[in-house]
Structure formats: structure tokens, C-alpha cells
């Protein structure tokens, strides 16, 4: 079984290795895919940044172009100089705005504001278009415009994100700054949809820790602000976060966040680009993501796999057959031969491993039960069950135990036989002792040749069956030395009497059949062992009648 065990260990190792490879091998791929997704998001973030930059320039150009309008310029000049009614100027500028941009909403403009050179609001369209006269000089972008700069900014006000652009308005002679215009483009749902369309990633906008617009997972982005806050150093250094893994609902996502420029950056205003993360590489995820297509012939190596499994099974079965079944079969055959008396012992050298040990154990048991320490005769104590069979005279033919009444007495040099109360146990169930009519095997070293038998060696009943306990065997030996028929008749009578005493049935038991059987076995034993005669004896064992045969050589 050694090779079988090794084989199964190898199979188990191979299976474990295969499972390990199956679980580990996808991980580099998943990591690579995650890295690629992160790179894709990085590129998308770079593109988004460029878009924001281009957009900012576009808004600056637009507001600058509006500032070059003559009516607006003259109106703001008047307001700056204090010439004219502010209400009239307000109306004039507002009407001009409406004329220049008739459809404010479709233009993406949330607010358009004109201020004089003191920062006083002259007119608004869009948000709060009824209000004017207030000052917005403190706004850095407006102050910059009044200094002569064209610039942009991003404001977060009242939960809204606005991309702003401002430009100075010059006098008609273009030698003075008479005011400024600034424009605000709301940055919300339309903006994120446009980004998604151009970048092919989902986009979300955050302001002061809240998502104000998103293209996906509107209710599952709550953890993102905290995750982004953990990357404050990266944001400070490279103006964006690394790819951040997070979970939204049932989806595993990767996100890259970048702050908006301008003062909104101080208000935790971020645009976040996110996409699905590659599936996990654990077993559940692998099985979950396996489709029927993956198991088709063209995609899955069914033939090599089936061939490998078949080969492994065949090799395993062959090894089991070679190391398990074949020795078992041979041992069974040997045991049958042993039971038939064709062999004296099992050739244990023919068996390896545990079967060899088993064979040696069997041989030892045979030796133990058939060879008393007093070097009993090979014939002594042989069970007549093997000789007569159950049908010959009923049943209950049993092996005599070494030291029993029919065993040869031990030589003087041997220790005395066990006390009568200590009869050796019967042979194990199912074990058939070798009959007397077996061919003599080559004498193994452990088997000493049996000493010659002597009729006088037959112990008397009284000598061997003493005060037996409940398990003791009562032996009814025949000491009749008369002719065969008389001996057989006496044995038969004893046998019948013993069976009656034991309360056994006598059905089918006739003297003729009994004699025929004894006679046949006597002949066989005599020819086999070249003995003069065979004497039979009746005894009781385990409450049942039994027979023993003892060859007599002299």
C-alpha cells in the first residue's frame, strides 16, 4: 500500500496546488486590472482638469467679449462716474444682457453680473436679478477684474458649485477700467453628464462633504468625503488622490478625486471620477463571475482535464489493485488452501507490507494453536471439522487446544501444561484449521518436527479434565483398543451419548454414515502420516459434543 499512499498524497498535493493556483493566479490579473483602471481614472482626471481649464478660458473669453459691448461699457462708465440714474443704468444693462443672451439657461449661465469700478452691482441676470446696488468688491475675482485682470474662480455658495469668470470693462477709449463683468456657470448635473460623456467614467461633485451631483450611485457616495480627506497630503502635493477603492451598494469601485481650483478648493469641493473595480479573486467571486461560456469546449480544457483525472484514477486503481486487492486475493487463496490443508502455512515472504505482517501473524497463530510448547505432533489436536465436516455426525467438531486432553504431553524439559482450568481459547471464529490430510509443508524454522506419538500418550479423561469451570471441556475418550468397528461404534455411542447430554439434536446422525466418515478420514490420515492407526475421542467443548483424532504410530 506504500505506493498507493504516496499516490494519494501526490494527488492531494496536486489538487491543493491546483486550487492554490486557481485562487492565486487571478490575483495578479486583478491587481493589473485594478492598476489599469486606476490609470484610466488618472488619465480621465487629467482630461477633466484640462476640460475645466479650457472651460474656464472659454468663460473668460465670453465675459470679456460681453464687456466689450459698447452699451454695457458706457453704462458702467456712467455708473462709475455717477452720471445718470442708477435705476436707469440698471435697466439698460439688464436689457442689454437679455438681448445678448436671450436664453440664459440653455447657455449654461446661472448668473451674469455687472459692477462699476467700485464693485457696486449695477445689474444682474439669472440669480437674484432683481437685486442691485450691493457691493462685491471683496470677492477676489471681482477685485482682480477691477485691477485689470481676467480670471476665473470656483465658488461654492448655498450648496451650489459655480464656475466663475470675470473680466474688466474698459471705457470706450479703452484707457480706463470702468467696471467689470462676472459670469457664473452652475456646475451640477449637466456638467457631470457632459464629463461622463467625454471621459467615459462616472462623475460626482462634492461640496463641503456632500454630493451635489453624480452620474451614478446617488445614495451610496456618502463615505467618499472621508476617504478623500484621508488623502489630504496627496491632494496638496499632486492635486489629486490616488485611486481609492470603495463600495457603493453591491459594486466595488475605484475613485480618483481632485479639488476644484479657486476658493471652492477651501470648501472641500471635489470632482470625483469613479469606475468599477475588477472583481475580487476569491473563490466566491470567481464562481459568481463564471459564465456558461467559460465552460464551453473551446474555452475550457475539458479533454486534458478529463484525461488527467482518468489517468489519475486509473493509476490509483492499479496501485490499489496491485498493492491491496491482489495480495488480498492471494492471501484469501492461501487461506483457502490452508483451510483445505493443502499448505501448512502462508508463505509470508510473498507478501509485502502489512499483508506480509498479516501473513506472519496468521502463521504465528497457526503455530500457536497447532504447536504446543511441548512440540506437539502436527497431527495432534487437529480439528475434525475439517476432516468430517458438519454433516458427518452432526457438528461441533473442534480444534483441541494445546495442552488439552488430546495434545501430546510436553517433554520433561518444557514447562508443565497449563492447569485444567486454563484451557486455551478456541480458534477465532471463521478460522478453519488445517485438516490433518494436508501435504506436509517444508518445515519452517519455527516448527519443530513433531515427536513420535505413543498410544500411551493419550491422556485419560480423568487426567486432563479435572475440576473444570463452566468453560471447561469434558473429554470422553475411547481407550478401546479393539477392532475398528468396535472403536467406531464406541465412538459413535459416546458421541450420541454426549450429544444427548448436551441436549443436541441427533437428526441425520446414523452409525453407518458416522463410520464411513471416520473410516475415510482415518485412511487419509494414516496414508498421510504413515501411522499405524488413528484413535478418535469424544469430548465436550462449550457445551457441545466434539471429536478429536490422534494418529498412533506404534
Amino acid at each position: 500500500m506504500f505506493l498507493s499512499k504516496i499516490w494519494f498524497i501526490l494527488i492531494a498535493l496536486a489538487a491543493g496546488l491546483a486550487v492554490t493556483v486557481a485562487l492565486v493566479a487571478p490575483r495578479p490579473a486583478v491587481q493589473k486590472l485594478s492598476a489599469l483602471e486606476g490609470q484610466r481614472l488618472d488619465r480621465a482626471q487629467y482630461a477633466a482638469e484640462q476640460m475645466l481649464k479650457v472651460d474656464a478660458h472659454k468663460w473668460i473669453d465670453r465675459v470679456s467679449k460681453l464687456g466689450r459691448d459698447a452699451i454695457i461699457s458706457e453704462s458702467l462708465d456712467s455708473a462709475t462716474r455717477g452720471a445718470g440714474e442708477i435705476n436707469v443704468i440698471h435697466k439698460t444693462v439688464q436689457d442689454r444682457f437679455n438681448a445678448l443672451i436671450p436664453d440664459l439657461a440653455n447657455s449654461g449661465i446661472a448668473a451674469l453680473v455687472a459692477v462699476d469700478n467700485k464693485g457696486r452691482v449695477i445689474a444682474r441676470v439669472g440669480d437674484n436679478d432683481k437685486e442691485y446696488g450691493d457691493y462685491v468688491t471683496g470677492a477676489e475675482m471681482v477685485a482682480d477684474a477691477l485691477r485689470g485682470y481676467l480670471s476665473d474662480d470656483v465658488w461654492g455658495m448655498n450648496g451650489r458649485l459655480m464656475r466663475m469668470a470675470a473680466a474688466p470693462v474698459l471705457s470706450k477709449g479703452r484707457d480706463r477700467i470702468v467696471g467689470a463683468l462676472y459670469i457664473g456657470a452652475e456646475t451640477g448635473d449637466n456638467f457631470v453628464e457632459r464629463l461622463k460623456k467625454n471621459l467615459d467614467v462616472d462623475v460626482a461633485l462634492f461640496l463641503r462633504g456632500k454630493a451635489i451631483a453624480t452620474t451614478a450611485y446617488p445614495s451610496a457616495l456618502t463615505p467618499l468625503p472621508d476617504l478623500i480627506a484621508q488623502h489630504a497630503q496627496e491632494i496638496e502635493r499632486v492635486k489629486r488622490t490616488p485611486a481609492i477603492p470603495f463600495t457603493a451598494g453591491n459594486d466595488e469601485l475605484l475613485a480618483v478625486a481632485a479639488p476644484f481650483a479657486g476658493q471652492a478648493g477651501q470648501q472641500q469641493a471635489f470632482y470625483v471620477l469613479f469606475g468599477k473595480r475588477p472583481a475580487n479573486a476569491d473563490l466566491a467571486a470567481l464562481l459568481k463571475n463564471t459564465s456558461s461560456d467559460d465552460l464551453k469546449w473551446g474555452h475550457f480544457p475539458w479533454i486534458p482535464l478529463a484525461g488527467g483525472v482518468f489517468l489519475a484514477v486509473v493509476i490509483g486503481l492499479l496501485l490499489i489493485r496491485n498493492e491491496g486487492e491482489n495480495p488480498l486475493r492471494r492471501m484469501r487463496a492461501d487461506l483457502k488452501q490452508l483451510a483445505r490443508g493443502e499448505i501448512f502455512k502462508i508463505q509470508d515472504l510473498q507478501y509485502g507490507g502489512r499483508f506480509g505482517g498479516l501473513a506472519r501473524d496468521i502463521n504465528a497463530a497457526i503455530e500457536h494453536y497447532t504447536h504446543a510448547p511441548s512440540a506437539p505432533s502436527a497431527m495432534a489436536g487437529k480439528d475434525l471439522n475439517a476432516i468430517l465436516g458438519d454433516s458427518a455426525g452432526g457438528k461441533a467438531f473442534d480444534l483441541p487446544s494445546p495442552g488439552s486432553a488430546f495434545a501430546s504431553p510436553p517433554p520433561p524439559s518444557f514447562p508443565p501444561p497449563p492447569p485444567p482450568s486454563g484451557f486455551p481459547p478456541p480458534p477465532p471464529a471463521g478460522f478453519m484449521p488445517p485438516p490433518l490430510a494436508f501435504s506436509p509443508p517444508p518445515p519452517p524454522p519455527m516448527f519443530a518436527p513433531p515427536p513420535p506419538f505413543s498410544a500411551s500418550s493419550i491422556p485419560t479423561l480423568d487426567a486432563d479434565v479435572g475440576p473444570a469451570g463452566p468453560e471447561a471441556t469434558r473429554v470422553v475418550a475411547s481407550t478401546d483398543d479393539g477392532d475398528e468397528d468396535t472403536h467406531f461404534k464406541n465412538i459413535f455411542d459416546d458421541f450420541v451419548a454426549t450429544k444427548r447430554e448436551c441436549g443436541e439434536s441427533l437428526a441425520g446422525l446414523t452409525l453407518d454414515k458416522f463410520k464411513d466418515k471416520l473410516r475415510g478420514n482415518k485412511d487419509a490420515l494414516m496414508s498421510k502420516h504413515q501411522c499405524r492407526t488413528v484413535r478418535f475421542a469424544v469430548y465436550v467443548k462449550d457445551g457441545r459434543a466434539a471429536l478429536k483424532a490422534t494418529p498412533i504410530r506404534d
Binding site: 478660458h57 457691493y135 471683496g138 480670471s151 470656483v154 496638496e236
Partner: protein, 238 residues
């Protein structure tokens, strides 16, 4: 830094003793600490937060004034011969999307009043220490008071309009000075000895160093603004 030694006049010893008794609190040796603070290029901008673009109009020269220098103060921390400024109440008007003044030097126990004179609502707080001054809405026409007891620098910022930021520096000595247009500062009557010089600009302590006020050297302090590294060097020229 220049230390001016005031020699005792050669009067009679009686007159000298009388003068000493008349001015008991004046330090025996005091001088002026002065120098220049070099802020980074970004500090020259009038804007705290930059957008993507800032372009000149091409027709009219741009006007640049203010910048970080207007929001910078140099403070000396001295352990002896100091007197904290008196506690007072200062009102900062919030209007036109601006705060005036933006830099306050206060003594411990002073009260700051934020008065919203504009038309928009503000939300002021001290972001670096939210428990000290939590976010609170300041409606148009509203007033919010805040008392400062512990010395230190406090940045009060509007969450809706982050460019509106007020620096309140609570000091326990009278030795501090603001910058002029060129970044120069002067702190007079500084007693001789060891002192800690700290520079506050645009809402943070940007520089700190130990100085010896008895040395007659002008300090030249380089501060890369506003969130970079700072360096300093000594200028022997007075």
C-alpha cells in the same frame, strides 16, 4: 536689528537717581528690532485662491496692491518686561464680500464683534479649532461676538466665502509690528535678551526663530508663502 543704548546723562548723581525713580518701569537697556520679511512670489498676489487663469487685459496696466503683506505681522515673545495690550472690543464689518479689518492685534480678554453689513449670509468659524468658535450663521445685519482669552493666532473664516478670513492675534506683550509695502517691520523699545520671533501671514504662523535682541543686526526673514518651506538669512546691513 538695532539696539539703541541710551546713556545716562552726565548729571549729578542726585538728578540721575531722581530720574531713575521717576521711570521705574523703563528697561535699563532697550532697542528696536527691525528687519524685512521676504514673502514668496505667491504672497505678492492679492488673491488667496487662484483659479485656472489670471490674465492681464492688455490695454490698461493692472494695479497690484495689498497682498499677503497686508495680512502679515511679526510678533516677539519675551518673557520679561512685557505688558499685554489692554482688553478691548473690536468690530469687524462684513460687507461687500469682504471683512474690514482683516488683521487684529488683541490683548487677552478682548472681544471680537463680527457685524454683517452685507446682503448675504455668512458662516464664520475657526476651522483649525472648531470647538473654540463653531460654525454659526451670521445673517445680514447680524452680530456675533467672540471673546479671546488665550494668547495665540486665530483664523476666522467664512465657510460660504472662504476668501473672507480674519486673523486675530492675541498677544501678551506689546512687541509686535506689521509690514509696510516693502515688507519692512519695526518693533521699538524691545528689552535686551532672548526672544522668539514669529511671523503670522495669511492665517498661519509661517516662521519662528530665536533671536537675541541685544544684537545690532537687521533681520532678513524669508518666508515662502503661504504653504511652502521657509528659509531665513541674516543681512548685516542695517
Amino acid at each position: 536689528m538695532t539696539t539703541t543704548v541710551r546713556p545716562l546723562p552726565l548729571l549729578s548723581s542726585v538728578a540721575a537717581a531722581a530720574l531713575f525713580l521717576i521711570l521705574p518701569s523703563a528697561p535699563a537697556h532697550a532697542g528696536t528690532v527691525k528687519g524685512v520679511v521676504h514673502l514668496g512670489d505667491e504672497a505678492a498676489s492679492t488673491r488667496l485662491y487662484q483659479g485656472y487663469w489670471r490674465l492681464e487685459n492688455g490695454n490698461v496696466p493692472v494695479q497690484s496692491s495689498g497682498g499677503a503683506k497686508a495680512e502679515t505681522v511679526v510678533v516677539l515673545e519675551i518673557s520679561k518686561d512685557t505688558h499685554a495690550p489692554a482688553a478691548r472690543t473690536v468690530t469687524v464689518e462684513i460687507g461687500g464680500l469682504d471683512a474690514r479689518p482683516r488683521l487684529l492685534m488683541l490683548g487677552p480678554g478682548s472681544v471680537l464683534e463680527l457685524k454683517n453689513t452685507g446682503k448675504v449670509t455668512h458662516e464664520f468659524s475657526t476651522p483649525d479649532n472648531p470647538t473654540f468658535m463653531p460654525v454659526e450663521r451670521l445673517m445680514p445685519g447680524g452680530l456675533r461676538r467672540q471673546k479671546f482669552t488665550a494668547p495665540g493666532g486665530y483664523l476666522i473664516r467664512c465657510a460660504e466665502y472662504p476668501h473672507i478670513a480674519i486673523s486675530a492675534i492675541v498677544v501678551n506683550s506689546q512687541y509686535f509690528g506689521t509690514l509696510d509695502e516693502k515688507g519692512n517691520f519695526t518693533i521699538p523699545d524691545v528689552p535686551d535678551g532672548k526672544a522668539t520671533l514669529k511671523v503670522w501671514t495669511r492665517g498661519r504662523w509661517a516662521h519662528e526663530e530665536e533671536i537675541d535682541t541685544s544684537k545690532k543686526e537687521a533681520l532678513s526673514i524669508k518666508v515662502s508663502a503661504p504653504k511652502g518651506k521657509e528659509t531665513k538669512d541674516k543681512d548685516s546691513a542695517e
